[in-house]
């Protein structure tokens, strides 16, 4: 994991690096020229990124958080506010690397506000060192007819606790929430996702996948709450998990709480192992046991990865997933 490159620039994205919470010196004086039109960045209190009204980003904005040393105890959390003005649309990537946390569980919080008719594609990628212990949260509010797409991807960190708290607060708002946690060794990962349908005619599509191997542990706790007046809600929540070792553990707690009567909601959770027939089929075609497993694990993850629309990031993620799987190099080229 130590070979995670510190410099994680995705070609084709507007790159904003933050080292130990401060804007990297490399950007000093050039912010005006790298920020797209209609986008402002305010660093007075934490990080505030604002898309005005009707702004269309033609390339993703990547906020790359990197800590080169463990955060000292008592340090304030890194706070990021993202405001997407009415009718604006774009892709935002937040990635964290290095040692973003310490034994006290230093934190990174993002607050996102989507105005009416706004559309945000949000990727939150945690690729920290194995010694990192961290907490991160996103608090999202989505107004009428806005569309929030989220991919929460955790592939690093020793102990990771993530919380996504989303309120669909305007009529006709929609969200698509995807998650992928990949944990090996002694990694611990927790994802808590809480979606509140506070307005009528909103839709949630949620799919979180967890893959655990070795002695890793992971937890999914998902709640969809439909409030009394949120009629015509459509909400689907699914948690699908893959156990690659009999020492690994997964806890899944999918929950629905519905107080409106005219709704279509479903939820489900499955945890399984790799399919023996599929493995045998692959082996009869010359795949070593490791390569066969890697191919199937990659296939399981790819349902989430394929939803990442920004190609350089999707390809990077695919490579990282394969790199963590024994035998991944054998199928990497063809994947």
């Amino acid at each position: 994991m130590s070979q995670i490159n510190r410099c994680f620039e995705l070609p084709g994205a507007t790159h904003l690096a933050f080292n130990n919470g401060s804007l990297s010196a490399e950007h000093q004086g050039e912010l005006g020229s790298i920020l797209p039109e209609g986008v402002s960045l305010d660093l007075d209190q934490g990080i505030e990124l604002r898309l005005g009204e009707g702004v269309e980003l033609d390339r993703p904005i990547h906020l790359a958080y990197h800590n080169s040393a463990a955060v000292s105890p008592g340090s304030p959390a890194l706070e990021t506010r993202i405001i997407v003005g009415p009718g604006s649309r774009g892709t935002l990537i937040e990635s964290s690397s290095g040692l973003c946390g310490n034994a006290q569980g230093a934190a990174q919080h993002s607050v996102l506000q989507l105005g009416e008719d706004a559309a945000l594609d949000h990727v939150k990628l945690q690729r920290e060192e194995l010694s990192s212990i961290q907490r991160a949260s996103s608090k999202v509010s989505a107004r009428a007819r806005s569309n929030y797409r989220s991919h929460e991807i955790n592939i690093g960190g020793g102990e990771t606790r993530r919380q996504l708290d989303l309120t669909l607060c305007g009529e006709g708002a929609r969200c698509e929430l995807a998650g992928l946690n990949l944990a090996f060794g002694r990694q611990r990962m927790e994802s808590r996702v809480r979606v509140t349908h506070a307005a009528a005619g909103c839709a949630t599509d949620e799919l979180y996948k967890i893959i655990v191997g070795d002695d890793a542990r992971a937890l999914f706790d998902g709640l969809i709450l439909v409030e009394t007046d949120s009629q015509l809600t459509r909400a689907h929540q699914s948690n699908r998990n893959l156990l690659l070792s009999d020492r690994a553990r997964i806890t899944s707690m999918p929950r629905l709480e519905i107080y409106a009567d005219d709704v279509r909601c479903s939820h489900g959770s499955t945890t399984g192992e790799l399919d023996a027939e599929q493995l045998f089929y692959l082996r009869t075609r010359g795949f070593t046991p490791d390569a066969a497993r890697a191919l199937l694990v990659h296939a399981f993850a790819s349902e989430i990865l394929e939803g990442v629309e920004f190609t350089p990031l999707r390809e990077w993620l695919t490579g990282e997933v394969l790199r963590r799987l024994p035998g991944g190099e054998l199928i990497g080229e063809a994947a």
Binding site: A276, E277, Q278, F280, Y281, L282, R283, T284, R285, G286, F287, T288, P289, A291, A292, L295, L296, H298, A299, F300, S302, E303, L330, I331, E333, A334, A335
Partner: protein, 254 residues
């Protein structure tokens, strides 16, 4: 090519193969027929290396090597191919991704360079034609949503891509319409080679009109109860199996 001697195999403690003897010389095609549940697929799976089945006695020599000691993937790289009676669906793995890895694993084992994307594409085009499959199939998840016939033709296509020395076709003709049957048979015939042998499992004499076998064996209750030339298949088509299975062991297996 293949010598099976006194092979016994069981699953979950239930004995299914009860002393199979069979000799398949290089370049020959042997057909195996027999009633449902007689052990034909079990024999295929055991030859392909499915560890769910336990071999309790006997030996199998493949090109002089002890086949039963080789893991399934090693057998495949060494030229053993089995077309599944029920091909397995693998969502999320495209045919192209799967097959390119498979072909390159086999090529590496044979000391050949990996095919690059262009050469791979050219080879798939050529071999897909043999089995009348369209190129759009390569982008789809393996066997997912394929019709019964497409699955079977896809097995044939994989065989053509992997160029095995020993091909075991487990009811590759079942579920094919008459035209597809001819296509698959034609594909198999194209692959006939003095260095390649086939074990063709079928319920229908019809297939053997197109793929003419050197020998026909009848498997019943885990044993080969009769062997003969291709005319044996005709006789079975007319009279069914009762005349053999009611009085087994009339003729010893060749």
């Amino acid at each position: 090519m293949l010598q099976i001697r006194n092979l016994y195999a069981s699953i979950d403690g239930k004995e299914i193969l009860k002393g199979i003897n069979l000799q398949l010389p290089s370049g020959e095609i042997h057909a195996i027929m027999g009633p449902n549940g007689s052990g034909k697929s079990t024999l295929s799976q055991v030859l392909a290396g499915n560890e769910a089945f336990e071999v309790t006695a006997g030996e199998v020599l493949y090109q002089g090597k002890n086949l039963l000691e080789m893991p399934a993937d090693e057998r495949a790289r060494d030229g053993v191919f089995m077309a599944f009676q029920y091909p397995v669906e693998i969502p999320g793995v495209s045919c192209a991704q799967f097959l390119r890895s498979a072909v390159n694993a086999v090529r590496k084992h044979r000391g050949k360079d990996a095919l690059d994307a262009m050469d791979f594409l050219a080879l798939t085009k050529e071999k897909m034609k043999l089995f009348d499959l369209g190129p759009e199939l390569m982008r789809r998840s393996l066997n997912v949503g394929f019709s019964g016939g497409e699955k079977k033709r896809n097995e044939g296509f994989q065989m053509a891509m992997l160029e095995p020395a020993l091909a075991i076709l487990d009811e590759t003709d079942s579920g094919l319409d008459i035209d597809a049957l001819k296509v698959v048979a034609q594909g198999v015939n194209t692959l006939r080679d003095p260095q390649r042998s086939f074990l063709v499992i079928t319920h229908y004499q019809r297939l053997l009109d197109y793929i003419v076998p050197d020998r026909v064996h009848v498997l019943s209750e885990g044993r080969i109860v009769r062997s003969g030339g291709k005319e044996l298949a005709l006789k079975l088509e007319e009279s069914g199996y009762a005349w053999i299975t009611d009085q087994p062991h009339l003729e010893s297996a060749s």
